[in-house]
Symmetry: D3
Subunit: 191 residues, 6 copies
């Protein structure tokens, strides 16, 4: 909940990530944002990707992670899956049409910052970007090894991952990571 | 909140509609469903359509309608936009991947019922379907006339529609409904 | 099998239809074509449509109908699903890329004839077009009534339809054919 | 060329139509717009549609019609094909990304007017919309009859249509306009 | 033809590959599968890709390879092109809708195995996967050098490749494999 | 303007590139082509890509670059955006439908040459390909450093780039070029 007591109108923020999975780095970001807005839209990017080393979880599974991890937060959240249109020029319009109206976008991703800026939407950044990015890759690697990933994500996320047999899935699909094709682990079309 | 006190595990339902707009017919359906489940996914169909007589509101606007209208309901809800893939054969898989896991689907739409049935998902129907369908068309017509639509939707929806100048929009885009093309009011490409 | 004994090279024909379902009208067409070619590609159009009154069967189900109905024909056939690209200007190239090479196209559909003609592909027509078209619509109506459709299709098709509970499916999805939307029976997104 | 001599900076307009074909109604509109801008972008809508009664000509053919008809106009023009994304919410962004920057949009199409208005782009209307729309439908009907269409289009357009055998094409594809399917004349997938 | 004489019902298998080209490794796999099923669906993955170093042949060309190479096999086969939907979550439904019904899937590709497993479809694996994958890459490299590829594919495939000037094609398109873009050899859009 | 005085009919050429940005290498190519044709279609490939290190500019911005750089050329030009269909097999048909009719294609890109050759379209090559390709990558790198890029592009292009704040954009979006994902700089979906 925002702490600016002079505010007399509702302020909604927007924060997008792939959340593969939703982890402590994201959680810290949300906590910081919560002090500045009343409500927060959590855009789940690459909503149509799943079952790969890079994007193991479906949009529905990520909605569950977000919702349960933020159940007790003093903040109204909207987890919204955002499909890839692969057209950067319309990305902001697309995101705006899929989401409740928001006034402030939060991101450190330079492309996201550039697109919002060109569209005239206020963007706030934080120096924590690298921390978020590295944690995601690190966590997935630890999941493949099934060793030490639980320490980097909220408990609720551990529950969801275990419920969907997520470790087994990411291990299985990562075996596809062979020499033949850069697409080896994003598609089900083998040799 | 479900009233079956013998239940010892969480049951989640799924109810899909276009919600153009979310109205009292939908609301009554949700209230009935609430007695049977703990949580409810509200699939917002044709998420990519907007600005037409048939589908005036964006997915984001419909998320706001649902969320605010059900703010005080004793039910955890998940408003989830579902994009059209135009492939009925994969529709159930698509919906399942975009949504938190659900056990029961609620629908009276025969196609939806058939698809879920073929996929082995439990579907529950109600005799209220026609009431829901007719109300949607009726409400949009009243919105175009800006006369009497407020009585058929929750107060929260009135607020959202007024906030986004929804009446002016549906009136404007309905003027496109001319003789030339069946697509006249779904596309911005004129003669 | 083609009857032109002077032929010394392999001639392949191409015949496209939606085959919803494959019926006696199609069968008569194939029999006539068989006298002119050695092999025949059967393009299954609108391969991505299914579960509607207009297109009840999936591409896979139609492949089974064609294959079984033509099991004993003295003709090598290739049932090939052709997805809709919704771009008439590239339709011929698309069909050619999805199909074994063919020299002659068979169709009475004026659009198909025009596209092949513009592309320089030889097209042969027959006056039987209306018979084929009318039979398709008639057969689906009879299926909805579950009365008299068996007489208009090969026995093998009756078997396939019964195996997949096709009558129940087309009956169920046709109930969606209501007043609200032209799309009512092609999509699973209700009111 | 714009006649506002006080202007000291370059003003570019945007006018979209399907131009099936580019006709005198469009030409009169362009002439009026020419008095208000220095340059004009002519958006060719539904660029991916062709070979139908409603949309007989390809984008390339329409580019030729526009270019030749406006060869001697005292106005710099940009014919730009605009593909359908079937997403009204991103339509303005899409058009802006495909087009040289423009300051003023010209349209009478209510949907186009609404979308530009919501996006904050200045839109100018004219009472001539019906004239343009009716002429397009009328011209295509006359083309099918090959009687009297030449009088309603610029001479350059007559040349292009004859060069591409456009009359034969629209006549042929219009034969598909039968009873079976609403899509009969937009797709090459027959019964 | 399956050798299990106690079987009293028809069993159909499903085996997917890109078959670029269909080679001896695939052939050995098909021979082994033939001992377990009555009929076999051969899914041709990435059906929409062609003219690249990684995917040189069209779906139609691959259908010819498969059909001719298995002409004399004691097994009913269905070569079915499967287009990429780039949505792993619906891949199994998609494949099932495009294919005649099958009971057993054969694959060693971990992603394919995972997707079928999650969908409850029986999957059988073999230790030969690496052999298949390596042969495909090796064969295409030998084709580029036009040296020694014939020894690794069935004679019928040699005929098809020569008929379509396949060696010249893969040599030409592989020249695009330069430094500028990872997409250099998959798209016709150069610098 | 073509210099072959014996020509008595209009000859149109086709030259495709991404033009990111339009530079001196392209300009020299156009100048050479101008001696052989009357009119030239400039296909702008990957029209739907923008805001990345590899493809920084939108189709509309590239149309402006081309038009202004060739304002005084003695050659009629048609800048035409060509969207990616990701289907090489229909690429030529697609390009032909989007473009005014052309007789000769100019390209050094081996894939483009192969596709046009298979389609029976005359292709002319030049040894300058590497020069064009290397300049594009070099120029974008210099733009990121904002040092020395102006010398490699026509003055008109410098104007356009400065007008759209192109240097700031390519610098900003190139910061996304990190370790996590090959897609990092083509999509707005971060970790």
């Amino acid at each position: 909940m925002r702490s600016d007591v002079l505010a007399d109108h509702m302020l909604r923020g927007f924060y997008i990530g792939r959340f593969q999975p939703y982890h402590d780095g994201h959680h810290r970001m949300v906590e910081r944002i919560a002090g500045e807005v009343d409500e927060l839209v959590l855009g789940i990017g690459s909503a149509d990707d799943s079952h790969t080393r890079h994007d193991p979880f479906t949009a529905g599974e990520r909605i569950m992670m977000l919702t349960k991890a933020l159940e007790d937060a003093d903040l109204v959240i909207y987890p919204v899956p955002i499909e890839d249109l692969d057209r950067n020029a319309v990305w902001v319009s697309h995101v705006q049409s899929m989401s409740p109206t928001f006034e402030i976008a939060y991101s450190n991703n330079p492309l996201v910052v550039q697109l919002f800026t060109e569209a005239g939407v206020e963007v706030r950044q934080s120096p924590m970007f690298d921390r978020e990015r590295l944690e995601g890759t690190e966590i997935r690697e630890r999941m493949i090894a099934d060793d030490g990933w639980e320490a980097l994500v909220p408990d609720a996320v551990v529950d969801v991952v275990e419920e969907i047999d997520g470790i087994e899935r990411i291990q299985r699909v990562s075996e596809t990571d062979g020499a033949d094709s850069y697409r080896a682990d994003t598609t089900a079309d083998p040799e």
